[in-house]
Amino acid sequence: MNVESTASLVEWLHENREPFRIVGNGTWLGAGRPVPASRHLSVQPITGVVEYVPGDLTMTVRAGTRHAELDAITRREGQWLGLDPVMCAGGTIGATIATASAGPLVHSIGAVRDIVLGLETVAGNGIVSRGGGKVVKNVAGYDLVRLHTGAFGTLGIITEVSLRLRALPEVDETVALELDARTPLLAHLVRFRNLTLSPLTIELVGASMAEQLGLSACAHFVVRLGGNEPRVNAQRALLSALGTLQAVPGAFWQAVNVFEGAIGTAGLAVARVSHRPSQLADVWSHVHAAISSAKAAPFFMRATVSRGNIRVVLPHADGESDQQFVAALTSIAQTITPPGGHVVWEQLPVHVWPYIPSAVADPLSHGLQRTFDPDGRCNPGILGAPWTK
């Protein structure tokens, strides 16, 4: 079912009582737990710019608007959103906010929660509300914006969003630094941290992923520098003291963005493993060991250094049966969590999800679900066992 406006969505909710899966442009439907709903509710037709005032660096758009369209419009004014979630070009802004998906730019621009100024939503009970507003500072009322951001549509459907924009940097360039495998990762990270840098992002890219992305088959730091020319030049000079820098075309980040779609395997598992940034070397080793001991290659890892977040991509390997794939992931799911750290699984085969603890099993989460979606219709179960009557 396609809905084309907030009003038609409300009408649809009142006329249909069955559970449904909310769909944007359908580019990332593998994310989250399986949703036992035969109906798809597409909000992709609710699209277009409602208001864009470049002087305010803010924009209000309908939720089905695609990132590619937002990017084209804002770049004409020398601005950008600065969000780069996986597979975002074809995806919709509503889906990005609902899933709180972020990419490497989280280092400098912030997470989705830091960029969204206001939201219009239709709750599962059909009530339309507008949280936040169009201005960059706003503390009026309880924060419905943060409530729906990352809720995976379990509390309702996002229909319109107001966003904070940034001016494009005067210079935007990327360099890569190959890491000598004989030196421990921790030593590389310490040398890096001792530099006074202010980049757009610093990604640690594992050897197998680096090779897939056209770099040499070694781990790399890939650094995106932005700002005025003296600032970028100074940072490039600091980085060059660590080793030979390789200039990397800007298209590299697009390749990172579509990497998981480009692998083209029948099955895919994706996890985000996190801990404090100072633990990154240990956690990287821990994750690598947990996967290597259970699963056939290849697998791919990258990390946003300042956040201590590792993104792990585990494709169905050639020659690996479905059964072996599931068995390997079941084993990994039980060993990958680093001591004191966290794992958020984005994609898994259906049979592995039962091994993953629910993220919404607590009374407050169930209280919110009961309030916003009393009939349990909106993406039921996508975050974990929902509230039941």
Binding site: G133, V139, Y142, D143, R231, A234, P277, L364
Partner: protein
């Protein structure tokens, strides 16, 4: 003790914290009856001041058992009529002042709610770090209060507000249950309870401890003062500076009334008293490239008619320029016995029009509005010094504030950017939000505090929340 509380409860509270830390007499309670905003004085029944986390937990559980309403309170600097209540128990958090951890390597601090904002900054500085949100009241206000109000400050233009810096919390729900939101060790999945709790104005419970993000102190800072012949020109310079792509650490504006108030006070900062407006602009970050930013900002200011643009050449000069801005509210206190400090936000491009409207309102109603504000964010603080004992003047001030708020709403803005709704902004909530949105907010509150015992009567107008009808502030319906 002003209103009757069960004697057994009073005795239990005294046994938890000691009699010294329970305030019962009217004279003792008057220090808890306001938050710096004239017009809102509400006397609590009792104030209890826990000295440890365990005492705080025991207090909230003792109140929960008896269904007694309470207000968590930090330093009482909120300026919205938020942390106060008639015939209620105030839980003062000022004794919970321990900085539990500074994890310099990861840029994190773990603090108790009563830690004073500026003290956290001082503790972080030796590690080359800072806590960025810097409300003008930072020498007194607490992190717990900052969390409750989602406080901002001049440097939030670049660094973000409190919400952007809180990574985890331990929260004591009004029921007495302890819950943990977020984690200092990365992302946990599930709903963003941390984001939801920050800015909930004490209505969802009490923050027992808070993990906040610290950011590196900048390698270099440049502070500029530009003065203009018109407020309009200064506002247009602000828009152009931001449009260049430079993100200043702060971009503050003061109008002539404020300049004169500051210069006549002990906080005199050397602002030109004949200027219609001054812009205080600060850029920070890596040393390299900073001078290029300064040159760009100077060009923007001159293009919009700046008479002079000067740069602070020493740290002492920088501190002096900032002292004038940070103490502007205090300086206005010299003009008249009372000062109403307002807080609203408009889209940045609407600043010239809204400032002109405010000027018109002040002329027509015969009140003196002093504008000092975070221009880069569009966050206005139109302040009026007056004599609250003069009924006619008070009425005109009240009317002016109503018209100013309406002008900000009409311009596409909002009624508070950093002070919160409290009691003061309640009448404007239904102008800003639909009935359904307000009812939704009520429903969210019910998840945390179904009996509305934690800071009752704040944020959402009573008539917007059916469940509130007939509710006494001291007991559940």
């Amino acid at each position: 003790m002003i209103a009757t509380l069960p004697q057994e409860l009073v005795a239990e509270l005294e046994s938890i914290v000691g009699t010294r830390w329970v305030r019962k007499r009217a004279a003792e309670l008057q220090v808890f009856d306001a938050d710096g905003l004239p017009g809102y004085r509400q006397l609590p029944s009792l104030a209890v001041l826990p000295g440890t986390r365990d005492e705080l937990i025991a207090i909230v559980r003792a109140l929960a058992v008896r269904n007694i309403a309470f207000v968590p309170r930090g330093a009482g600097t909120g300026l919205s009529g938020g942390a106060l209540g008639n015939d209620i128990v105030v839980i003062g958090l000022n004794r919970l002042t321990r900085i539990l951890t500074i994890d310099a390597e990861n840029g994190l601090a773990h603090v108790e709610p009563g830690v004073v904002n500026v003290n956290l900054g001082r503790a972080a500085a030796p590690f080359g770090l800072q806590y960025a949100p810097d409300p003008s009241s930072q020498s007194a206000c607490t992190i717990g209060g900052n969390v409750a109000e989602n406080a901002g400050g001049p440097h939030c233009l670049k660094y973000g507000v409190t919400m952007n810096h809180v990574v985890a919390l331990t929260v004591l729900l009004p029921s007495g249950d302890l819950v943990t939101f977020g984690s200092p060790n990365g992302e946990t999945g599930g709903y963003d309870f941390t984001g939801l709790f920050v800015g909930s104005e004490g209505c969802f419970g009490v923050a027992v401890d808070v993990w906040v993000r610290l950011v590196p102190l900048p390698q270099a800072i440049r502070t500029l003062l530009a003065d203009f012949d018109s407020v309009d020109a200064a506002a247009r310079a602000v828009s152009e500076i931001v449009a260049t792509g430079i993100l200043p650490a702060a971009l503050e504006m003061m109008d002539n009334a404020t300049i004169r108030a500051v210069e006549a006070s002990i906080y005199a900062a050397g602002y030109p008293v004949d200027a219609a407006a001054v812009l205080l602009c600060e850029v920070d970050g890596l040393l390299e490239g900073l001078d290029a930013d300064v040159a760009t900002i100077e060009r923007c200011c001159h293009r919009h008619g700046a008479r002079t643009v000067r740069s602070a050449s020493t740290e002492a000069e920088r501190a002096r320029l900032w002292q004038g801005r940070k103490k502007a509210f205090g300086a206005m206190g010299r003009i008249a016995p009372h000062l109403v400090v307002q807080d609203a936000v408009v889209p940045r491009t609407q600043l010239p029009a809204v400032l002109a409207t405010i000027h018109g309102i002040s002329e027509r109603l015969g009140v003196m509005v002093c504008n000092v504000f975070h221009a880069g964010d569009g966050n206005l603080h139109p302040n009026i010094a007056y004599d609250a004992n003069n009924a006619d003047e008070s009425a005109r001030v009240h009317a002016a504030m109503q018209e100013i708020m309406q002008a900000c709403i009409d311009a596409g803005g909002t009624i508070t950017g950093e002070h919160g709704v409290g009691l003061d902004k309640l009448p404007y909530m239904s102008k800003l939000f639909s009935d359904d949105t307000l009812a939704t907010m009520c429903a969210v509150r019910n998840v945390f505090d179904p009996n509305h015992r934690s800071n009752p009567g704040k944020v959402i107008p009573v008539h917007s929340c059916r469940e509130w009808h007939g509710a006494s502030p001291r007991s559940a319906p």
